[in-house]
Symmetry: C2
């Protein structure tokens, strides 16, 4: 069983409630990754919903989730219609609510309407031409779960080279699970948060906790590498957005993400 499947598994306990365990395998300096936790919440919600696919999900991180501890996830379907249904999802540890999310579900397989794609997959070197980043950078347990292929601050730091001073606060990077697990639609919530922050390019090792993460799930990913582009255009008084675009190996856009975070 893949680490992702094992660590996002949930068991129904009563009406709309699920039990899970927050693994420490997705930790960043002792705190579990926010995208990982959202993926687990959506994994629970999918059982309750009238439609199969998350389309847009937003999580607000209320208090720090503890890794290595049990959690309870509650799911309430607050709207169900012909084409869409919406859930309010909470992750608790003990009595303490750690995360609240809203997610609207639909069926990407039956979506019908015009297509007009203006954006395009970044034209970058193939993953095979980029050296893999081995192991973690600092205390990032999560880095051991992925094969990352990127030319960014991350690659300079793991190679032991100084980070150039003129890097933009944006980068592209290939990524896949390093145990052979293919990306699923729901796992894109994790992939949207799996790289170090784009501001890392200018401020290596900054601590950038997420306050809110929104992911739009646009297509079920094809097997193989994912290519991500992340950027932060507006860091103002320590608050920032990070925008992400994720493509699959067929060149299709599969997710858009935006998070609101702070540098502490």
């Amino acid at each position: 069983m893949s680490a992702y499947d094992e660590d996002t598994a949930v068991k129904p306990t009563s009406d709309g409630r699920y039990a899970g365990t927050v693994s420490n395998r997705w930790d960043i300096a002792g705190a579990p990754n926010g995208g990982y936790l959202l993926a687990m919440m959506l994994n629970a919600a999918t059982n309750e919903m009238s439609h199969p696919d998350p389309l847009t999900a937003t999580a607000h991180y209320l208090s720090r989730t503890r890794s290595g501890e049990a959690c309870t996830i509650s799911v309430e379907e607050i709207r169900t219609g012909r084409r869409y249904s919406t859930a309010a999802i909470s992750l608790f540890q003990g009595d303490k609510e750690r995360i609240r999310a809203l997610a609207t579900y639909g069926d990407l397989g039956s979506a019908e309407g015009p297509t007009d794609v203006v954006g395009s997959m970044p034209d970058v070197a193939a993953p095979e031409e980029i050296a893999p980043i081995q192991g973690g950078v600092g205390p990032f347990e999560i880095a051991n779960r992925f094969d990352y292929r990127t030319r960014s601050a991350l690659s300079y730091l793991t190679a032991g080279d100084p980070v150039p001073e003129d890097l933009e606060p944006s980068f592209t990077g290939w990524i896949r699970f390093n145990d052979g697990r293919e990306a699923s639609l729901t796992s894109l919530a994790l992939f949207a948060d799996a790289f170090p922050p784009a501001v890392f390019n200018r401020r290596p090792f900054s601590w950038v906790p997420t306050l809110e993460l929104t992911v739009h799930f646009r297509a079920r990913p094809a097997p193989g590498w994912l290519l991500s582009r992340f950027s932060t255009n507006y860091l103002i008084d320590g608050l920032l957005e990070e925008d992400g675009e994720i493509w699959d190996s067929s060149g299709n856009l599969v997710a858009l993400s935006r998070q609101f975070a702070q540098i502490t």
Copy 2:
């Protein structure tokens, strides 16, 4: 009293509950604008929160809100900390929940940390050099609430000219309330949804209901015109994102927005 203040006014009725009326002055073909409704919900929430400013808010539109009818807004502060507090907000008409939102509040006035701005205000003709768009385009009551200055499908249509076929699904536009009311921080939720959709440039008069709208509130706007840029890069099988950036008259970025919508 300005139309905006009058139409977003709410009265406390009991613990965490507010009464309001959904005005028809912000209608699009008989349906109230989603940004207007989010602004009213935040207006209610601000009374309950431990911090003064919305920082990031997401609304999921569950069922069509009816204009000209009363509504009830419930606000629950689900987290309060030193720097941030988070609310779950619901808008009801009768027993029917129309909109669920989550919003994290903070204090932009006391935000501290690094600033690194890479994006910049679009360099476009001043509003005085662009002809105002008079009255509504079709059954858009909301268009009577704003002074719009833009060169987009909207300007061709109101001038009675054919829309060029090579317009991008993006545009910039100046905007302000046409009764002299200055934009407030909370009103940016409305401004983020006040222009016709960017896909209108290629598909005039398409009906583009919002499923989810997220707004990041980045700075309190200076008096005067706002400049917005909206774009849709990925219309896929009738589903789309619309990204917005809003600057104030001082050239500061004041909001980022992204919505998930469908073309029907």
